[in-house]
Symmetry: C2
């Protein structure tokens, strides 16, 4: 159930409470990615301490390893991970972009191969729903057909038709409401297809709507345009989830367009490559100029890393390829995005979201 709490006057930014089996997601919210039931380098205690409200795991990847049986034996994905807050599970549609996984797509299923043993698996929307139901996540994402950016209009038309058809089957298989069920809007960068897909999915009365197939290589301006094709057609009283988007600037812009939920591997992946967020922009922590910097990564940050360690120390660890350096950078980046969402919620409720957004973007992008 999504409780609409507040709307910003100047923008379309919204605050809400998405009430789920394992707790409430206060939106706007950022979900750290736990593809294999683990947020890279990070314990569930650390996620709790940074006020992460939920994570997103990948149902198809977990179906391959360790297998649904193993997770069901543990009592579901939450107990398996020792995480008692919200878990979303992605369907596996996104893996179609990965040639290590994709074999072929037909009108009624996708055939994946396991990158572990080469074994083929036909995944229908119904099987996809069953996997997620057995994993016991709070929110199941519909099986979608996600073609690469740049696919032509014929390909995208057929693909969008499949996404709609699969969503219908998936919705039927998840109607018992034991778990929230979200549809995923596709349609590439074609306005007609995006609008058609959005309308059809809305008719299916999902518990929420994801916008998929973005942040996969298209220009940023186009991405924001595409988001704007869907949001006006989505029902106000349902949550909107922009999948795979997680840079601070993109999230703030999308929030101002009415998006509620985000996920991205950026904060964890960037951290492992020395890049961290600060209020004055991204920095490469491995640079020599930080060698003797006694201050924290970001003066205003209250994460474990900034509270306990100097730039100089993290710089040393990263330059020496010490795992602890990647851990400390990961903690900082996740905390930074989660805190930014907290600040966005407060600002929306106080009618000051536009100021927050403009001030943040001025400092964050201005330094480049």
């Amino acid at each position: 159930m999504f409780k609409f709490i507040s709307e910003d006057e100047d923008t379309k930014a919204r605050c809400g409470h998405l009430v789920l089996r394992h707790g409430t997601l206060e939106t706007p919210a950022f979900l750290p990615v736990a593809t294999k039931a683990s947020v890279k380098m990070t314990t569930s205690r650390e996620l709790e301490e940074m006020n992460a409200q939920g994570v997103i795991a990948n149902a198809f990847v977990l179906f391959l390893r360790p297998g649904v049986d193993t997770i069901e034996t543990a009592g579901g994905i939450h107990r398996f991970m020792n995480w008692d807050r919200v878990v979303f599970t992605d369907s596996g549609g996104f893996q179609m972009l990965n040639p290590d996984f994709l074999v072929k797509v037909t009108d009624d299923h996708v055939t994946f191969k396991s990158p572990y043993d080469g074994k083929k698996h036909d995944i229908t929307p119904e099987i996809c729903a069953e996997i997620q139901n057995r994993l016991g996540s709070d929110v199941a994402l519909a099986l979608d057909d996600c073609p690469p950016y740049g696919s032509d209009i014929e390909h995208m038309t057929a693909s969008t038709k499949r996404t709609i058809q699969w969503a219908r089957c998936f919705r039927k298989a998840t109607e018992d409401e034991s778990q929230n069920s979200f549809g995923i809007v596709q349609g590439g960068t074609f306005k007609d297809l995006r609008e058609q897909c959005t309308r059809e999915l809305v008719d299916m009365d999902f518990n929420g709507y994801a916008i998929g197939g973005l942040c996969i290589g298209e220009p940023k301006e186009l991405m924001h345009e595409v988001i704007g094709w869907s949001t006006p057609l989505l029902p106000t009283e349902k949550p909107r989830y922009l999948m795979g988007v997680g840079s601070p600037e993109d999230m703030l812009k999308a929030i101002s367009m009415g998006v509620d939920i985000f996920d991205s591997v950026f904060p964890t992946r960037n951290a492992r490559h020395n890049t961290v967020y600060t209020h004055t922009g991204k920095i490469n922590l491995g640079k020599g100029k930080f060698r003797c910097e006694s201050g924290p990564i970001d003066e205003s940050c209250r994460c474990y890393t900034c509270a306990n360690h100097s730039l100089s120390y993290v710089n040393h660890l990263l330059r020496e390829y010490e795992y602890l350096g990647m851990r400390l950078a990961t903690l900082h980046n996740l905390h930074f995005l989660i805190t930014l969402m907290e600040e966005a919620r407060t600002a929306i409720m106080e009618g000051e979201f536009n100021d927050l957004k403009n001030d943040f973007l001025r400092d964050y992008l201005g330094s480049k």
Copy 2:
């Protein structure tokens, strides 16, 4: 200052308090290894939570990167690492075993090359003392000449003579007592040389004595024999530190011979290769048989990993090469050894060390 607290009646096991600038090391004690000012994968908070009393860093490695200046600017090794408990620093003598470092040894210094840039550095005992003094560790280890296992009697005789000569120079350079200074007994597996080296070092009145050059390839029985050549010659009122030894069975045996302090990369390195300690022996956590095991790694363990995660989950993470799996295994292994030392201290004080040792070894080795 070493306060002698208690001695076991049946064995030579001892309890003591080594009072240092940054706190007291209650012995027997195990020091996790922080070669580059970081215990692999582990934060200082986690080390505190598992009751680690101290760590050992490597002075020569830190001299190369990030450099003594950087650490001095931070206010010393403790502030650099954000670790306010005990820090030992090893001298670099051990790096002579590594052809990436060693260029040559002369009677008055060792020439190392930096594996980073190939630059050569002549390290005398005095320079070695100065580096450790500037790093600000609680205990500085003398520069020793550590030849490979199997070196012949001529080589070892010359090398031991150098170790003694360097120890004398090092002791002179560290006489101000601002920092504890430990000599390192060498002499390979030659009884005469070990005894001679021990006696000469004892004459120099170090604050403590390390036994070096062991656990470098010699058979286990020989290692215990070599320890027994030194311990009777070492003064009762000074701490004894067996360097590089860290398997549970070796530590318990060495404690019964009167050793007080240990360090080893085994617990962290083993963890990264899926091997963890349990009271019924070492296990390979990556094995398929643990796939659905809902219990912890060790039922009696109170570490973060065992308190929060199942064997099944850690097994999954390790099989998937998720960093979190290595982290959780590392936490468990370090906690296991530190707790074993706590149990040894209690048992010694209660006059039950021999029972603890025999019971532990029966369960631990019996399962193999």
